[in-house]
Subunit: 334 residues, 2 copies
DNA sequence: TTGTAGGCGTTATCAG
DNA sequence: CTGATAACGCCTACAA
């Protein structure tokens, strides 16, 4: 049977190489993937032939057998949100290093779309990373039963969970505020159902308490500039001298509305956000913020996943250190 | 031969469905992919069985035969550059709509890395999109011979090329400048080898000429904030009253260094950039800029690619309309 | 060390 | 309309 003669797409196959090198196709396969089990001379001839034909192994055919395509799916809620891009970059870097390819999908902030995307992806990838997932714990576990899964910015029992560590850096921020005479803090929350919001809110409450400062938790707002701007009135009413916003977008919205209302930052009101998004230092004054180790989260998620895929056992959950307090003009300096 | 009994990974196959539904596996395949060629009753039974087994077709096995994995590769030079966000989003949206999955890769601004990524990807994807590619025309054509390719922000003979249209909007910008009394314009170029830089530079020169204004082309600078800041001296020396920067990053760098030098924007110097990147309106004054239809470019690239893949013939190259002049505080108003 | 002979899960061709 | 059966390209026992 002539199995040779180029595949559908015209690409050469191991059969073509076999013909050129004068050996059996299976020998070609071996020579290429396990050269130590083939005579040196044969390996040389095969490699030569492969080179001359410009051979590239067909990953799909390989995957059909091994079950692995060397791809990892990354699902983020919203590609527009610059916060996620550092995660993507970190993951991309680690993927390239481990010889994996990243497959990107977007959930559009919609749990159903996210589940759909995840299930579709599950067939094509060797593992998945969910960033700030909107899914239920049970849905996530369901996905994790099929293929290895790592979640970022979330904690799910039984699934490798990675999140930036925020306790220490929030403590550091409060030390700074204390040193500059601030005693009354307000927290402007984001989506109450968000795990990150709860994490930040809780850590802040704790840190404030241990220092004997006063915390006012404002009403929740959408995690956007508009949301931040909308909070102005309540911020002023709270009597707080510094506002911690759930994220930089809200902080910037608040900062800009203050400028329009001629409220001086940081003299009359200090503002600090989370994320250190791109552009956080474009504002006047530049925004102080907590920079999270998002690149590391992405990279770590990937290596955890690769570990799981290749070793067969899930990696441990952990809090990723490396959060930094970024002091800029929106907070008074010592 | 018992072909049934769940695949390697435990997932049910068409053999399992066949057993449950009491038909031949090939009938299952047909009932699922071409129901019109199978008796209604049979289709119903098969679908029922599939549902009850929670069957999901294995895309890899399908791809082995059809040669298509329903995936499209997107290679960008640098994921950190927010300019690309919109392209990615547009592509992602169109991909989802066309039932394709986006595979993302990064070239790290390095032609060799880009070629490597493209070649690796070529095996797994049905087509590729190169954004602001650093490759030679010949290398791109080489890739295009294997799988369909679309390039964005570039023009390559023989390959579908998509780029934002900039002529009209630059004309519009100059009308505005003219109306506010500006006559002497400077252009602060980005990388001279960049196709986008040449496109912008040429369109600007043409538009200035037809209006009898004066254009000074400054020395090239890196396309970063630092590059923009570094140009200050030359900007002042040029005597221009308005600077067109190659991109927003440079424009913002220039704007910020002006603030430090107490040069009033826009009274003493008008500044306008390209891209309308995230954060362009965070500055004081907010940056005027030319917003490019990047989302559309991404979406269009995808539909062109899908057309090519499914119809077998390449789509036409075109300039994508929809560029907008965004007037903010960094230019004087009429 | 190398060749033979399946098998991976699906689709497509060809009879029946 | 449905059932065999042969690819798709690669991998891997097993046999030689």
């Amino acid at each position: 049977m002539s199995r040779s003669g180029h595949g559908r797409n015209g690409a050469p196959t191991i059969y073509d190489i076999a013909a050129v090198a004068g050996v059996n196709p299976s020998t070609v396969s071996r020579a290429l993937s396990r050269p130590e089990r083939v005579a040196e001379a044969t390996v040389a001839r095969v490699k030569q032939a492969a080179q001359s034909l410009n051979y590239q192994a067909n990953p799909i055919a390989r995957a059909l057998h091994t079950g692995r395509l060397q791809t990892i799916g990354l699902i983020v809620a919203d590609l527009l949100n610059p916060v996620y891009f550092e995660v993507v970059r970190g993951a991309q870097a680690a993927a390239a290093a481990g010889n994996y390819t990243l497959v990107l999908a977007q959930s559009v902030e919609d749990p159903e779309a996210e589940m759909l995307a995840a299930q579709r992806l599950a067939g094509t990838v060797d593992g998945q990373i969910l960033v700030t997932s909107r899914l239920d714990d049970s849905q996530i576990r369901e996905l994790a039963e099929v293929k290895p899964v790592v979640v970022i910015n979330r904690e799910v029992q039984g699934v490798t969970s990675l999140a930036p560590e925020v306790g220490p850096v929030i403590g550091e921020a409060l030390e700074h505020l204390w040193a500059t005479g601030q005693r009354r803090i307000a927290y402007l929350p984001g989506p109450l159902r968000s795990w990150a919001n709860r994490q930040r809110s809780r850590a802040l409450a704790e840190a404030v308490e241990t220092r004997g400062m006063r915390l006012t938790v404002l009403d929740t707002q959408p995690p956007t500039r508009e949301g931040g701007a909308a909070a102005l009135e309540q911020v002023l009413a709270s009597g707080a001298s510094t506002v911690f916003a759930y994220n930089d977008l809200m902080a910037i919205g608040l900062l800009q509305v203050c400028a329009r209302a001629s409220i001086h930052i940081p003299e009359q009101l200090g503002i600090i956000g989370f994320d250190d998004i791109f552009g956080a230092d474009f504002t006047t004054p530049a925004l102080s913020t907590v920079r999270l180790p998002l690149f590391d989260c992405g990279a770590r998620a990937l290596s955890s996943l690769i570990h799981h895929i290749e070793q067969g056992e899930p990696a441990e959950s952990s809090h990723i250190p490396g959060s930094q307090l970024i002091l800029r003009g929106s907070l008074a300096s010592v």
